[in-house]
Symmetry: C2
Subunit: 298 residues, 2 copies
């Protein structure tokens, strides 16, 4: 059995805990989060307040990091150096390569392994982009997101001073271009114009058409549904008009928590180092023996 720690207990952490407890080959060893009250009563016996004490209830093989992206690399580095493998859904695309190199060194130092960017984008969508390119090497792949709440963008908007709560909806307008609809609930003394300007100039939003809308109650609008449509039209050999499409409609934190959990299984099968999902065999994500999986899936 793979011994799992969940680090961070927001929406994704709670979903990862569900996925781990339903996995046939995993045991949930502990949940690391500062605030005990966030952990449901049934899981309170597994609560740990600080990653320094992550081994309080026994050895941990893999820590599933369910933290905001910006906190993942430093936490992963600490755990890897201590010999605990990590998986995360770090989603700041331009920084993935640099953070992978950083965690690769930490993993090798600690004789552990890491999988970075193992959510759905980056994550499962990355696998589809790689596969589609192997099938039709020349062409264009478009990834259209939504409609749905972007967790990363909502967290980024919430971090703006004066914002009490925020919901960033991603609206696909085609060919990989998106509109951001950001619903904000302000603290009493905040200026809407200042907040709206700060959101529009944040790195998460600056490249997209972004609309900021003030609302009284963000919670009443929250739905965790999200979607992707990915399309590649391209050329296989000298044959044009090859058309490959992938569409999903999903509960967002549940899918992220599940992919992180599948990646936690895969990370135990890798040599020391840090990997993205496109660098590991897909069979490693699944429980069961190789013969059964090849017979059933290939």
């Amino acid at each position: 059995m793979i011994q799992i720690a969940i680090v961070g207990y927001g929406n994704v952490g709670a979903c990862a805990a569900d996925a781990v407890r339903l996995a046939p080959d995993m045991e949930l060893r502990c949940i690391v989060t500062r605030t005990e009250s966030r952990v449901p009563l049934s899981l309170r016996p597994l609560w740990v307040s600080d990653i320094q004490n992550i081994r309080a209830y026994g050895e941990v093989d893999v820590a599933i990091l369910c933290l905001p992206s910006r906190l993942c690399p430093a936490t992963a580095e600490t755990l890897l150096q201590a010999g605990i493998s990590t998986v995360d859904s770090y989603d700041i695309h331009p920084e993935i390569w640099a953070q992978k190199c950083r965690l690769d060194a930490a993993a090798k130092a600690g004789n552990a392994a890491a999988i970075i960017a193992a959510g759905w984008d980056p994550g499962s969508d990355s696998l589809l982009r790689a596969l589609m390119e192997a099938m039709a090497p020349r062409g264009i792949t478009y990834t259209d997101f939504g409609p749905g709440m972007s967790m990363g963008h909502s967290v980024a908007a919430k971090a703006i001073p004066g914002v009490e709560n925020a919901l960033s909806m991603t609206m696909p307008i085609g060919a990989g271009v998106h509109r951001r609809m950001v619903y904000v609930q302000l603290s009493p003394d905040a200026s809407f114009d200042t907040v709206a300007q700060a959101i529009r100039s944040d790195p998460y939003f600056i490249h997209d058409e972004t609309h900021v809308i003030q609302v009284a109650d963000v919670k009443a609008m929250q739905d965790m549904g999200h979607g992707v449509q990915m399309t590649r039209r391209g050329v296989s050999g000298s044959a044009h008009n090859q058309t490959l499409e992938y569409t999903m409609r999903i509960n967002n934190p549940a899918l992220t928590g599940q992919i992180l959990t599948s990646a936690a299984r895969a990370v135990t099968k890798q040599l020391p180092g840090c990997y993205t999902l496109i660098e590991i065999p897909l069979i490693d994500l699944l429980p069961g023996g190789k013969e059964e999986l090849v017979r059933r899936l290939v």
Copy 2:
């Protein structure tokens, strides 16, 4: 540069030759086929009549087998034992595991590597089935094929005595169930009833609703277009109704030839042994450096 031999020069072989010549990291070293006249004039200088002479024009790293499935394992075994890596699109699903074990031994004996079942089903569809299961471990995946010509089934129908030419169309009737429409052109002395009965009881057709129709000219009906719709509805953690869909509409031999070519790249990066596509990292299928690929695709 990876030195490639193409073994077999039917529809798939011709498409694989196109894909190899367009790959930035490959050189087409030779084409192995019994009948010289099948090879277009521009490629005649690369013609070899027999795999015994596969090294006639220089060293070969990988042989891309573009033969009927039933001929692939023995040919691959011979080449692997001689130290030449192989890829094939062997598509007899229930036999894949046994043939993989056979080629694994041959590959290790010859210090080479093989990728088996590297077309689109088995092949890229297998990757999607594995990925979808990692994203939603409980649920059902349906693979619906067509409408389109099945190369494997057409070859099987053509092998029936009395059949001069045959075209087997796969018609999706939903939930992974298919109807086979088999158009046959008979030799003058053949009995249609005998042929129809032989086709319906062939292992390729016996499990499906199969209609056999006599026509005067099969060639006039041939279109290489094909398609797949794959759907998984399942559960991530405790979240139900996760909906994942994949659809493609493609030139069939062109896609098979391209995936074989991408697999020929990947096979050079594997340790000795035989693999299915779900056992190798997707990044290995693509040309270019790891940093560039991770930055662009993850």
